[in-house]
Subunit: 330 residues, 4 copies
């Protein structure tokens, strides 16, 4: 299943070392000004190779809009977008194509499909997130017309919450042939009350699914999240005054529906599984061996994942806004 959203439907395709990655966004309303220019700053933020901290794979990531735009605006037709792969070094992966890399999807792909595109992780590569950024870029552009914006920031790297030491944490891991993870927070501002559904597609459930669907994310919380489990009801409830809510422990969502406050999402990113340090694994045929992953890998994916999470949040909100439009009585 490679579609996210019901109304602002994003259907994604592409492998790390295939011909292209991309997405079709179906359901974007007509009249939204949109061009490749809108995508460049977002793609730049997820791009590797910009510093010694991230993977040296230097992809240009030039977006191409294939359909759905006429005279600079969306027409209501599906917007197909793609990035063609230009810097494929699948040879990097020949030596490990018959091994299951620990922490990767190699084993589970083999179990599920009986076949596996072994070139750089195929579709389970972090490169898959290019499609999310393309779709998210359109969602953001659409939502900007309603004053809704998305802002992510890193809270922690490897348990350290001092931003001045984030680079140090990552470099230290790298120098030890290891990797680290961290915690990210996304804030959605300007979102009107009334988005989301009261039972199964609660706004928090949709956002949790959106964020948890990003590779390497292992936990998600909304508002006070896990902390709320330690509080009294009287501490956790957001009281109201005549000017609105007096606090935002709920993180902008009550009963699955947005309440007009800022939406706060935090999530945990695991350390990159690809490390040079040797680890025990088995081959396709079950023989035990050691594996050391070389090649172009980030010692920490956290800095690049922020924009991806913003994009997934934007798609989720765009979807909920269209759903809400549908049921409004004229």
């Amino acid at each position: 299943m490679n579609t996210f959203g019901r109304y602002f439907r994003c259907t994604s395709f592409g492998e790390s070392h295939g011909c292209a990655l991309g997405v079709i966004v179906d359901g974007c309303p007509p009249g939204v000004f949109f061009s490749e220019e809108d995508l460049l700053p977002l793609l730049e933020r997820r791009r590797p190779g910009l510093s010694p901290l991230s993977s040296p794979r230097n992809e240009p990531d030039k977006p191409v809009i294939l359909s759905g735009i006429f005279e600079g605006k969306t027409t209501g037709m599906p917007v197909a977008m793609a990035v063609f792969n230009t810097n494929q070094k699948s040879g990097d992966y020949d030596s490990i194509k018959n091994l299951f890399r620990p922490g990767h999807a190699d084993y589970t792909f083999q179990a599920k499909y009986g076949i596996r595109d072994s070139r750089g992780g195929g579709r389970s590569s972090g490169r898959e997130t290019v499609s999310r950024v393309l779709a998210g870029g359109l969602a953001m552009k659409y939502l900007s017309g309603s004053g809704i914006s998305f802002k992510g920031k890193i809270l922690e790297i490897h348990g350290n919450n001092n931003p001045e030491q984030f680079e140090e944490e990552i470099l230290s891991a790298k120098n030890n042939d290891n990797s680290v993870g961290g915690i990210v927070e996304i804030t959605i501002s300007g979102c009107p009350p009334g988005l989301g559904s009261p039972v199964f597609e609660k706004m928090d459930a949709v956002l949790a699914s959106a964020i948890m669907s990003i590779g390497a994310v292992k936990g998600v919380e909304i508002g006070d999240g896990f902390l709320s489990a330690k509080k009294y009801g009287s501490e956790n409830n957001d009281c109201m005054g005549k000017d609105g809510f007096l606090s935002n422990h709920a993180g902008g969502i009550l009963g699955g529906i947005t309440n007009g406050e800022e939406i706060i999402i935090r999530f945990a990113v695991k350390p990159t599984p690809s490390i040079k340090k040797e680890q025990k694994t088995v081959s396709l045929t079950g023989e035990e061996t050691l594996i050391s992953t070389h090649g172009r890998h980030d010692p920490c994916i956290v800095p690049r994942i922020v924009v991806v999470a913003e994009c997934m949040a934007a798609i989720s909100i765009a979807d909920a806004l269209l759903a809400q439009n549908a049921i409004k009585m004229q």
Copy 2:
């Protein structure tokens, strides 16, 4: 949107103080032995009124199967199930029907629909979970044939992880006109490798959505979850030997696909928002006032939510199993 699942599709209906609550499960394979008897122990576990710790509302919750069963077995036709409401005291709510209860969906329902069933929270009541238990009961019965089982337990109440003190924590909150939350863990055993989808409908994303869609849940994590953000890659990766995985930090899911290990889900439950303690709020017309919620409310919803979470996990796994069946080459 009141449907969960694509293949094992559960469409839910009903309000706290309406005529009935129920669900249609569409897509359950034929030949599964199933009767109301299968539902009774599950409904009993979510039932209120069993101890001083939970709400004194003593609903019988007698399940009725309306369709889809012939000679004791599913036929492949939709299985509709309902529980008729018999113990409705909507009069309890008259005094607060024009007030927005803090921590509740009252304000957001009004913002979304411009109309609100004020009797006991209507569809945003915890009573809505009856439908989830009905559908989950069928999912569990179907999956038991494949040896898949679900087991939940409480890890913490109000930050206290000593099970012998859980009751004390809850009673203490109740005696102070307050409420508490906690943390629950669900373990899924016997799940084969290969379930879940590599990109948007990752098994962890689906489970996160399933669990986060339960009212009062504010955070979800899989496997080591938020802790994984503090570890090195070499500590977090699950190495493999010839007999399988050597650890289970991933919580049974790699790259969104189950790996055959136990699936571990933990989630945070906020304290019940309905408390006797007075809190600031506003009326429908914006006037400031104090509110104290009387009536039948649990001071802690955690003990009753466990079975609901097991049921949502069962529905998610049943759905993924059917999806996996679909693509297997004969």
Copy 3:
């Protein structure tokens, strides 16, 4: 798959001789006045047993609304409706439960599910259409607020297009232990331009699917339909003047999207397969035999199918209207 519609989602359940038949309508906007009273005239029109022309099974068909209505109006929550079966004579079917009735779904159900509810056709009985009328009744009520209405009429019975001879055709077939079919036309008035989708979910494709999903329907056409295949382009095109279209050969739909003219749908209904006349068939175990179907069967289903088709058209239009609402820029 027992759901029709994406936005005005109708999920149906129930068997001919089970406990109840019904439907959940999810997605109906809030604020629509709706009660069981709205359903009675529609159910009356599909009711059998009113004349010697139709089946003597005299079901009361008392509708019950189970959820989604508060103070007489829809709330935006799912509207569950049911009719409980009261006049079940499944004993009628004992003698033929191991035979495949010609023209029926007996053989195909067995092939698909390996199990079959043999009581009166189970879910493939015409009684299943009760659920469609319940959902259609709500759709009609919602759409009446926008001035959209639905009107069906019989064009032909057994090839005879003289309405005064319809009854005669049916009685003649009945007296010969046989059955007849006919042709029905549905006209949708007041539908605004702009409904439907340009490619896969063209308004005509959705209506064709809606109508063809009614048991016994074997052909559907829109506007001039099959006749248009015999005309020149210059005869078939609908020219425009300053007051609008000058003709309506297209039947109200161009390029899959409504054009504001009346929508015209015609469809063919096959003769009821259940007849007293003996016919060759085989048993579950493959032995050849003769079958004669007794019991309560209409010699012609056409008069009762009209309201069902109107209801399916109403659901389709309600769905398209909500979809169109979603993408309108504010």
Copy 4:
């Protein structure tokens, strides 16, 4: 809505004179041998410009597979395919971009979206069917492994059922600045019993929707179709003997489920709306005028639509086969 199918999901994009047209097929099982070579004969059959009978627009229609294939086989990942437009003469349309062409979607697009890609019909152009052929080609390849095949033929052109006069009918229309339609029949062979759903997604309803979604199709019938409305039940029922069905009036589908016989679909194609002959219309601003459509247009679309209909049938059957796989008990 630009997706067809639930399990073999085809999401289409592209405009007549845009950058590219294409499709993502999501849900195709792994292990199907597939390459661009498989698509060439199908694209050739829908290609214009091969004879004086069809449009002189000579597109090369070179298919490119963008994802989902590894070492010559599908991997279970989405298969994205595209044809890049190379022969765009949108200048052809400048003179009529502010007029509503009779029989076209110009007016309805404007009404729906308030904006319209006026270059050659944009997305409502017949060129959109390229995407259907790409997806259908993959469906056919997948199904060929199960021995299922698709064969279409023209039954009538302009009411004439003599194949030797089809060319004459078309040329005669062309010479008179006019156009003609016709009737096509699709036969599906080798389809197992058990595909399709008993209520809303009956196999005939899905096929009707699939075929009716092709531009210019105005009527669809299954098996004896409209003729069955004129017959007695005893004439229309397909009796059974020990070797199977004794006739196939039903066209291979009973109660919405395939019965193992050949599936027979017939449909009516209207005459091409674009004709040189002058016709009355109005401009965007409502002024009356005459229009004569020049440019590259087929005087009869019927010969090229055959392969498109086969492809839509193949997608429908592939989808139903996957759905049936899902519910089979192991």
